[in-house]
Assembly symmetry: C2
Amino acid sequence: MRLTHTLLALLVATPLAAQDGGAAVNPDAAMLRQLYDVELTTSPAHEQLRELVTKFPGRLSGSQNLKGAVQWAHALLQSQGADRTELQPVMVPHWERGAKESVRLAGGTPLTAVALGGSVPTPAGGLTAPVVELQALAELKTTDVKGKIVFFNRPMNPVHVIPGQSYGEAGDQRTQGPAEAAKFGAAGVLVRSLTHAHDDVPHTGNTTYLPDVPRIPAAALSTLAADKLSAALKADATRRVSMEIHSQWFDDAPSHNVIGELRGSEHPEQVILVGGHLDSWDIAPGAHDDGSGIVQSIEVLRLLKAAGYVPKHTIRCVCFVNEENGLRGATEYARVAAEKREVHLLALETDTGGFQPHSFAIGNSTDNAHRLAARWLPLFEPYGITSFVSGLGGSDVHPLLAQGGAIAGLLPNSQRYFDLHHTTEDSIDKVNPRELQLGAAALASLVYLVDQHGL
Amino acid sequence: MRLTHTLLALLVATPLAAQDGGAAVNPDAAMLRQLYDVELTTSPAHEQLRELVTKFPGRLSGSQNLKGAVQWAHALLQSQGADRTELQPVMVPHWERGAKESVRLAGGTPLTAVALGGSVPTPAGGLTAPVVELQALAELKTTDVKGKIVFFNRPMNPVHVIPGQSYGEAGDQRTQGPAEAAKFGAAGVLVRSLTHAHDDVPHTGNTTYLPDVPRIPAAALSTLAADKLSAALKADATRRVSMEIHSQWFDDAPSHNVIGELRGSEHPEQVILVGGHLDSWDIAPGAHDDGSGIVQSIEVLRLLKAAGYVPKHTIRCVCFVNEENGLRGATEYARVAAEKREVHLLALETDTGGFQPHSFAIGNSTDNAHRLAARWLPLFEPYGITSFVSGLGGSDVHPLLAQGGAIAGLLPNSQRYFDLHHTTEDSIDKVNPRELQLGAAALASLVYLVDQHGL
């Protein structure tokens, strides 16, 4: 691209009046412009995120790094001028991966893999067994898997435009595959990583065992390793695989949701919540999942203060713990809120990556919140937010739905998200500062509008 | 993010019916679904792009690598089943950077820099002179710059949401700065790189000299180097800078626009064009700028053929040459088209990076084309294309506007584009395969709709 007609085209294509000139007319438009201006010119969010993921990568529940991140977030909320901060106690599960796992074709070729979160270890000396490749859990009923390693190799469906949809459809292999295979006597499970990327990066994530069903070891293969194993089995169906996992479960550990708020001037007992989750998988720096959501949520408080805005309702930032493998933080937060009879007008989550946002998903018990919020679209369109769709926010705010308010989530572009989700690659260099900032400003804008006008 | 409620939210937020179920009802919807399905499941585009930027990086006009790229594109169009291909002769300017340039604070500290495209060399032994830092070209009138190096250091304005707008506003420093400074007797020019990124990567780009004004050497500093120089000048306004540029101009060189087309079955003389540019800056692999546009445009032919579609009008893919420093390819293409009295119903360009597309800019002489095209939005919305805006496509199709048809450009997310634009960092690893594919399918969809229904 050069600086002539193309540029002209871009400029003509920009709703300039709406973007820069309309501010004088409408006080809401002026406030959004101010929030975006402050964020786009003075944001510390990317540097804060760099610090979080550099000092405290792998912030899995029970880890020292989660402890450090809790203290870090608490200090940051205090330094950003929260009127009140709180460390809300939560007991969290504590699983550790232990020494590096290994998976290899018998005979020696290594297959790049990571143990699934929560996996039990392999027996001493490892597990070596024949492998059965399956595409769907239903095939367990018609396949002899007894004593074998079940290899679930169904790729994410590439035709869905939204990768989250494909992730949802393929996810049963990881979340339920080991427990289901164990019902039929399998000795272990390997799962194709849940990603569209075709590379040698394995993706972890939680698996759930069932009561009264044997707990068998389980790992995810990189998509390249999955292809390699599939090809090896096609060449020789009797090929055996050896796997070693050294994980361990410990007693529940103490942790905390980290809370900071600006007290409401008119209705302090009514809360508008914005939050993300502080924990990450043990192998992941957790930059997009969900360090981005943490620094964006804290930015909402900073931006409103920087604008000199006095909120009518209490604006509360919550850094939840244990989203990845337990949701204990979300559950405890909702329990305490119910006990205190707190009213949440809106609980807004940012946990789908720090990419450029295009929409909000918003839901309530009558499923009309997205239509009500749509009246604000003209205010958001200059900033690239083009829709409010019906949806249920995210895992951490979902328990609040029952309390009657609205729950919502920021929806950014997500084509790149599942390339790095739950991997070593979820690092700071994958987060674009301006994309992160556009998310923070969008969150602050919606919080402001709900505070001013309700839903 | 975990696989529970968040996923639910994402799924609920997806217009499933529109995305996967509506196809049976409407033949246009069915065709778009088919084009997207084929592209998202079988696209060779990312691998083709890897080959282009690996074999032929730095495809500047006059270079051996551009020659190689021309042959490569021609062979690819033939292999994709174009009914007719053509190498359209174009004479292009030929400038070479020569040995690596250097810029340093007198005393030794190096400042990371690249010569601007088209810059004349420094005198033998280099240029050493005092430096005057300016923000705007207008300051030349009130500043003594005689014999000095003028340092234009106005950053791109971060508050505009669309970086292209900020690029346009700051660009005069690079395109006109050297010529304007020369009018006032300056000896050389340094320019802050045109980017929002704060790093040590310098960005080149064209500068234009004026007749009867001395041609003085000019280079761009990385934004970090620009800050370093600015700080040094604040500490000591007499600090001198040494610069060495070893560039050379040669005679115009022969090159070619590369053309491949599917012949129209009803109106072969009426053309729907889709294209990008094959050349890149000499220091850049040119993955986003504009290798992406090349492989996407070639994909349009492949996708229509794969769908078994027989176009009514001629669908023509054009790989323009010399977009970056001359527009000779675009000019020659339009001249020949006028000479042959060809009618272009639509000339569609893709030259703003291979990122996820969200809109089309479209324009014609009466500026109503974007409103006419907007009737197709319901077909595009399932794929994330949410608007048709008034605009003028891009540099290479702009000369066709005078011939009466519509010109258009694909608009992808652009926050990351100017981080790597015209740099060594514009490499294949920055291009996400699915984002690239979504662009190709969007282009094919618009071409199909215009072929079926006109504008």
